[in-house]
Symmetry: D4
Subunit: 250 residues, 8 copies
């Protein structure tokens, strides 16, 4: 209900003043005390709220999964552990867990549109890449996975050029020196979302080296998310993918 | 000329083997020794190459501006100084300089499409915001400027909500604590590009505090570019804006 | 006994010179060798000494709890572990332990005055918030808990505005990008104590990102304590709350 | 006008629907395009908006000073330069400038209440201390200045104990190792606001050493503001001072 | 044997040329391949070589302890674990282990001279302080332990003033904000060796905050060793103590 | 096959156009999906691809070892664990594991040429040194090991001068203050590769102190690899060693 | 006057109670408002107070120099500029300025005792070394200067061994990789004070690399002062030198 | 003269004992007090000593240039300024200065051998690249310059592949994200020396981002020197180049 509609009801005496005041002040969310769940987000934006599992107390986690699942029939969480999977499974037997991406979800079948690509520099970056890819798929994007194409063996990447040119957005996932994003952005004309990973040792400082590389990219059309933030990249890529496809069936 | 076409010419004997070899190896760019100019980029992608003026030796800068202007009839550079403006002006009298954005350019009239928004946290962030806005305009985006809407006075931002909901992409420019991007991304459903600025003092560490804030955003649909990199944000926002508009006139 | 009183006794010959010298040099505390306990602090300031449990050797910890409990009938410690709770319980069966706040205490009933609010950005910040809230309650403040009102969904916070306007001091607890403090301080006119938490990953650097955000706040009336220092915030908020209430019953 | 009042007018038909909608959406501020001035803040909170002069373009600065002065009859800015003083003076001849604190203001006479203390570790910290002290005075606090009482000569501080015990709040300003705040907070029972300064060299890292010292204080009742942020400390101290005095004349 | 003496023997034909060459090139140490033990150091300087146990492979550790013990009848190692103690004990039953200081040694009775003081800010700093104190005692210094005299309760330190004035050198051990060294150095006239400890949390950064505080001390006569380096402080304090006592019995 | 050769075949009609196009685009590697193995590297450069074992999922690791071993008859991996050794051993019984260097390999007998030296500052640096030494040996270099010659006892290093002067390249491995590289480079005229190790504590910051020391070396002829990167140093030293020996048997 | 003496006077009625109270509370220093000068320090310790000139306002600086000079007949300041020299010279014509060490002083002739050495790694470290050397001389130490003996050419240092063995304390001044202190401490048995300098570029981070090197020294008997803190090193070395000489003329 | 020879002379009585002792202790260098010049280095190694001009006092600089030039007939310095050039020119009219590389030298004609390549990522990296190239030429290497081949436009680099494959060593100079070294090392089999430059802004942190990228390179055969250290790279590349060519004319 828009403000103006509400005001019309007020003038028409169709609504109590107290009720109108309350509505004007409130946005819809469910308050569990320790958490405030935004159920209407999915309706409004097409992106349902997601659960960051890591560090959530067991009891809270199960409750939150249950709340979402009961209302929406699906639920999606990242950074889950095997142990959390077992706990949630007791409450929601349909839940599935992917030990690589650490995604814990119940997903309804849905139509996927457009296409994004997810690349990695190495094999060790695959878990973060899968978090990105599966997030994008959950929110309705088709995903092309192009793994282990790091710039130290540039021919592996160059061979994938055609696939890279067919997507609306590319997610470049890399640890260590993190140069993948720059080279990819130099090869294509679509937006590139760079995800530094904490893969590496010594002066990689748990992903800081890759993060700085990506922030300082001398290529155009590239932006960066937090270290290991595959979820954020998958979400943003889907927003871009949707924008690119929004008029495609006119 | 595609590889296959070339190979057909080779088989047909229409081309020297040496020449074919050379073409297969080369991509088109102009080599000045100290620089290799990519003239075909603009044709290929719709994004002409841009000049980063800061620190370029005077002689090189004027030459590069001249090369681009002579061939394309327009030229666009960022981070220019008043002194560089005077130098380039002697060679290209049509060049204009905006002392706020520090953009030095000759721009041909062109049609602008779609819309992006550029917001700032404070007045001091305006120069970076203008670099972003004018870059986006140069590459063909309509821009809505929404300045001085920092989160310490949240009502100023909330009042702009309607404008924010009408664009394909938002650039959020902020220094000091840099929280603007998170709040904006929480209000809208389009991609948000966050630009930390070096505005601040003490523990802002020349923009590092704002950068970290943006990387750690708990909002969805947000990515970050380098500190003060208005140009990069304007470029990426335009890529997204174009994707959103590409099917709009079908 | 004040210096002047002591000097009067000296002149009157009511006290030995050696004794007077000793008293002039000494302040009252109990010396255990490895620790010097300040028993009189509570009498003097209304704030009894608190025990930081983490890292204390088992034997020392139990002794110190016992010393305080025996004299004061109450004792308050932070950052305790389940194991430490079991140890202290053997010596002091009345002791209670809250596994969320990690506070280990025996608390006498007392009248609480005034009111402070404790807010968190997310559910994961609740342990630090509870350390703050329970500390404030132990020292005699009424506390209003307002949890999971992070700025990425600004409407959740705006809905609590009325509660925020009714308190003498607000503690804003947040990890990740840590912007809660700034937005809160922009909404109210009372002092805001910002507590960064170590919640986050990657470029949050165990709370450093939130800390910097808070230090660089462009809002007025805000100060910061160490990462995860709920205790310090609860203490300071109580000092302010007491000042605000000191003349209230005249 | 409160929401309920407005709604009553709507029902009574005393106001146009469009006008009511506009009012419900707007908060009062003046929009200069590059800045949004919050004139009503002073009325609402007793703290008028302050101008951070450093880095403001000359033209903007003079305009903003003029706007505030014309409406309020007083205006207060920090981090001004001698050159800015000369510029503003042309527009507002009554303006005064203190080259130590760098405060540029027109101040109406007003009654000051309560008392706060401002201490410094050394002589070099005085400019930041004066920014704090004069800010507090502008907002209506009495201030006791206690300078050059650094902890390397602890007797200088101990001698001021009586003065320290008479105030509602203490601001401790120190650079280099920044230990002043801890020792002060150990001596008194009122809140201590610690301000690290950028005074020092080498491993002081422009105030970071002092900042860390203060954040890690093992004293109770202490919080920290940004490096060199005298203004923020003076503002917060005044909030606390007002709370302490609010019921004092009942 | 001095070079000149050797040359005399050469001229006199009392020594083989090959032998002389070898001696001129060699300094005395024992080569175990993975380690080169300097047995003569103790004879030369009065400071025997010490073993840093942490991270030494079990087999190497036992061998090295045995080598030293067999030749010198005593042996001294720091940062040992309970497990290493058990291992070495099998080879050298006389070895003793102090679980607080983590020193693993066989020590011959020896006369101690002069006096140094070891102070700590808190109880948690005692392990590092004991490493310093026992090192100093092993190398022959008398030690006065003054623990838990942190600057947040300055009276505890001031009460110890007389003891502090009676020593040749003071070791100040402190974590968190690390201000102890500065206050101590301001009270006395002898050299102060400051040892930052890794005690603390959050922005203490495992001792970096305390280290910076100590390096930036505004007191005179103070120098710093590495974080938690009690051994280094005890060694250096003993060097100074010996210098102070070297002529004392003439 | 070179491009020119291919083109000749095209003209001669000896090859399909589609096949030629494919070959021109492809470089030879084997695609496992999660990894792209470069089998031809060894043939081309004499350096076979190496496996970084740490963090590789068990299943992937065994597969990759098997692939390489089956084709080449040898395989070489670094940073392996005892557990990984057991896993690979089931698939390849010939595999050997060195718990010091953590190298897991099957190595064919080969002729070694030239000579390099590997030095360490202390005993604790030996594991990294062994990774370097065994890598160099695997790739065909003779290695002279000179361990525990840190600069705090400079005579131990000076005694090895003759050995240092007989090699083509020196690897200097050191943690803590990391000064070994500088002193070695000052003694010899061959290239020195400095390897910082993470050995140390406190302000060594896991090898950063040693890394900075080496980067700032005031000696000539020295370059640095990542912290603990023995493999990289051994590889580079072998490249240099081969260059030095390439014409030696003409 | 000692406390006991004072108390005797009190009992004897020889002193007013108010006066006694005042004396008990006060330590002697002169209060200029912006500074509190400790005139008695020199009498008490033999180390007069020193002036850190950098950043002192002109007016304050001249006043402070005058105050000290008038009472003591000598005065000593560090980090002075040529301009400050000219200013002070007007007030005190006898003042002298050394542009290398930047020491501005009037020094009375005095007897020097014992001996310390000041070494530098390179020529660029000489200014800091001279600050140390001249400070030590001002406070009464004989100084042996040994410059440009950096460890990249170790023979230059080894040649000075005899001189190094004749002193009570050595100050090792070095920038860039800062390894001088470690090698020196390995050669001698007296205390070594290491002074990192800000000489260097790139990853020297204005002296941080040298500072870390020195803190992580694997030599015994070494401690560190702040970057470029020649004064602090000269002061501490003199304290040690005095201790070593205190009984020398018995 | 070797030690054994000397000893033979001693036995034969052909040399004074005092003289022999002196010789055994001394290495040849010239002591200017503030500097110790190593004239024999050039004879011994083929690499004459080089002067780092930046920050050298004018008087010292001219003296040192004169000393080297007078004895060797050539002299080579880096990081010189225009002003230093003018000063040295007065003493040595033959001296030349290159304002791009900032090299100030007199160079005798000499034969150059082998070949190294110097690449840059961008035009702004040319000054550092020229320091490297001219250093290598001065020490006798042929140099192939390949500039502006950054990885954001990978085709520019791929086109140079043939030139890269013909050299003994490659120097890769790059700022901003610094990925050039990795891609180059992946293309060739010779050693690559990576030089980070301070070119960039914001999160490039004056070259730190590029430095970290290079240290974390996932390519083989790469090592790193300090930020902007073109000289060090040119020196090391020449050592490698000489090794590669040493047997080439047999």
């Amino acid at each position: 209900m828009e403000i103006k509609e509400l005001l019309k009801q007020v003038r028409a005496g169709e609504i109590e003043l107290e009720r109108a005041e309350e509505l004007l002040k409130s946005f819809p969310y469910e308050d569990l005390g320790y958490a405030k769940l935004d159920h209407h987000r999915g309706l409004r934006t097409g992106f349902r709220e997601t659960i960051f599992c890591e560090g959530k107390p067991d009891e809270y986690l199960v409750q939150i999964y249950k709340k979402f699942y009961d209302r929406d029939g699906e639920v999606f969480g990242t950074r889950a552990s095997e142990k959390q999977y077992q706990l949630v499974k007791e409450a929601i037997p349909e839940v599935t867990f992917d030990s690589v991406s650490r995604i814990l979800k119940v997903e309804k079948e849905k139509k996927r549109i457009g296409k994004i690509a997810v690349c990695t520099g190495g094999t060790a970056d695959v878990p973060v890449a899968e978090e990105a890819a599966q997030t994008a798929e959950y929110f309705g994007s088709c995903v092309d996975r192009i793994y282990d194409v790091g710039v130290a063996g540039i021919h592996r990447l160059l061979n994938q050029r055609e696939r890279l040119e067919k997507v609306n957005c590319i997610i470049a996932v890399a640890g260590m020196e993190g140069a993948l994003g720059t080279v990819v952005a130099g090869l294509v004309d679509c937006p590139v979302i760079a995800v530094p990973t904490s893969i590496g040792y010594g002066a990689s400082f748990h992903g800081v080296a890759a993060l700085l590389t990506m922030l300082n990219s001398c290529a155009n059309g590239i932006a960066v998310v937090n270290i290991d933030n595959g979820y954020g990249a998958g979400y943003l890529a889907t927003q871009i993918n949707r924008l690119a496809e929004k008029n495609s069936n006119k």
